[in-house]
């Protein structure tokens, strides 16, 4: 079950029995069987009728509205009622010890997966990445001994900085430059792609956390600002590099997106419409890619892993599991 992306603006979507009919300028442009999707992403100015929304809610399908690469809102059906879990989530948030424990595992998993990814690049392309790989290893040792959240965040921040310093080596297209991470605005096309990928990943994980009965706004590693999906950001850490960064590198290197697919508006790089659609397709395909989950010792699709990780996190928060077992790629 995939995600349906409606990125065409000014569409009108209505329900007909179990299907959705998509009209543009009063002509039918597409018919969709809703059962084939688990999520609908709506971009820009399209309209869904109430009947269409009700059908989607009934089928338990998330409807997420986007403007550009920003998630504007979601329409979800009846929520998970696990009150005990919610209380446990807040208790863990208030406990410095438990927060540190969860945050540490998230950071360690991120460092490990980043290292795994760089080791793959080093092997395959004979790149000289040893210094940064070693740095990530040392960061893991430090993270294991970190005494509080601030120290842990410092270690994570330094490791991320070193990683993104080495990141340009992974990109083989000379017309794509990358000079450090920039969030808003994205200073170059690579950053624009990364930002978009992270936004999609965050929307995925927010959905997975909610499905598991967790509140995506109450996090452990990320907690300094209210009103953002801190727990989704937490859970993203173990996926950022292996799921998004690698996808971006692959798309750029294989020429799936080209330099001319971007416009540069006053210092901000933006994806053109057709390239954004392409990116969505690639991202969706990636969700279905199977990867080996080292702790569970089997291959699963990313989509399955997102949900599994959200439930595993809930289990540790509730005290049902001995530890939070993150996703570690092989």
């Amino acid at each position: 079950m995939g995600t349906f992306y409606l990125s065409e603006p000014y569409c009108f979507v209505r329900k007909e029995s179990e299907r959705l009919k998509i009209y543009k300028d009063r002509t039918l442009i597409r018919e969709v069987r809703v059962q084939e999707y688990s999520r609908f992403f709506i971009h820009e100015s399209s309209t869904l009728t109430t009947d269409a929304l009700m059908l989607l809610a009934e089928k338990g399908i998330d409807v997420v509205y986007f403007s550009g690469n920003r998630m504007i809102g979601r329409f979800v059906g009846p929520e998970n009622k696990n009150v005990r879990l919610r209380i446990a989530q807040v208790k863990a948030h208030l406990s410095e010890e438990k927060s540190l424990h969860i945050a540490r595992n998230l950071v360690l998993a991120k460092l490990k997966n980043t290292r795994t990814s760089l080791q793959r690049f080093a092997r395959r392309r004979e790149l000289e990445l040893d210094p940064v790989i070693l740095f990530l290893k040392q960061s893991m040792d430090h993270a294991l001994r970190a005494k509080d959240l601030d120290e842990l965040r410092g270690i994570e921040g330094m490791a991320a900085k070193r990683y993104f310093e080495a990141f340009p080596m992974l990109i083989q297209q000379s017309d794509f430059s990358f000079e450090g991470r920039s969030r808003r605005p994205a200073k170059d096309p690579v950053n624009a792609l990364l930002n978009y990928g992270y936004a999609l990943l965050k929307a995925e994980l927010t959905g997975a956390l909610q499905a598991a009965g967790l509140d995506p706004y109450i996090g452990y590693l990320h907690r300094e600002r209210y009103g953002r999906e801190s727990l989704a950001l937490d859970l993203m850490e173990e996926f950022r590099c292996i799921m998004v960064d690698n996808l971006v590198v692959k798309m750029v290197n294989q020429g799936v997106v080209k330099r001319k697919d971007f416009h540069d508006d006053v210092g901000e790089s933006r994806l053109k419409e057709h390239a954004r659609k392409r990116f969505l397709q690639e991202f969706d395909r990636r969700r279905k890619d199977e990867v080996f989950h080292q702790l569970l010792q089997r291959k699963m699709s990313y989509r399955e892993i997102f949900h599994k990780q959200a439930i595993l996190l809930a289990k540790f928060i509730k005290g049902e599991a001995d530890d939070y077992y993150p996703f570690l790629a092989k």
Binding site: L108, L296, K308, Y324, Y325
Partner: protein, 199 residues
């Protein structure tokens, strides 16, 4: 009594206590192909109402409570034939003789007894798979097991953690809670993550 145990929970408990905990204490519910199938089949008895069928009088989708047992049940159908009242519960699949269905039906019988103040000696399970009815006699042994199960479920509500599950894969794989309960993963993931192995 504060906690009212649902007759459906009795069915779940007899299948697996852990499933019962997740569904009725944590209130987490997932569908799978079997539960959806059951729900679709069930739709015709899910609307309250009454009808005549020959000599029989049918009351559909009736809610009953037993204050004495702390029990709340929904009966698919209560039938009246020749002055005798009895519950009929509709089930997907063929007649299988699963005890969990007997217990659930017996709980309906017990609640009905309290309501009308008359003994209910038996009930029926109707199977969509075979279109056959199975008569279930509410004997002392079945009544006793039903009451014990209700007590056990009430005790579950006071627990912080789920009880042990059946953890038998041939049954787990058909359970709608399998992706939440994670029996296989639980068997594999024990203790702390061995980070030394990964650094």
């Amino acid at each position: 009594m504060e906690i009212f145990v649902e007759a459906h929970a009795i069915n779940a408990y007899a299948y697996c206590p852990r499933r019962c905990y997740y569904e009725y204490v944590e209130r987490v519910f997932y569908h799978n192909v079997y539960t959806i199938h059951g729900k679709l089949l069930h739709e015709h008895v899910d609307h309250a109402g009454r009808e005549h069928r020959g000599e029989r009088q049918l009351y559909r989708s009736l809610y009953l409570r037993s204050e004495r047992l702390g029990l709340s049940v929904r009966c698919d159908v209560i039938e009246e034939a020749e002055g005798v009242l009895y519950p009929v519960e509709y089930k997907r699949g063929k007649q299988a003789g699963w005890e969990n269905n007997h217990l659930q039906l017996c709980a309906q019988g017990l609640a009905l007894e309290e309501w009308i103040g008359r003994k209910i000696p038996f009930g029926y399970l109707f199977y969509y798979g075979s279109f056959r009815r199975e008569k279930v006699i509410f004997d002392d042994a079945l009544r006793e097991r039903t009451i014990q199960t209700i007590k056990a479920i009430r005790a579950l509500h006071l627990q912080d953690q789920p009880p042990e599950g059946i953890d038998e894969w041939f049954r787990c794989k058909k359970c709608s809670m399998v992706d939440y309960c994670l029996p296989q993963e639980r068997a594999r993931l024990k203790g702390k993550v061995p980070w030394e192995r990964f650094t």
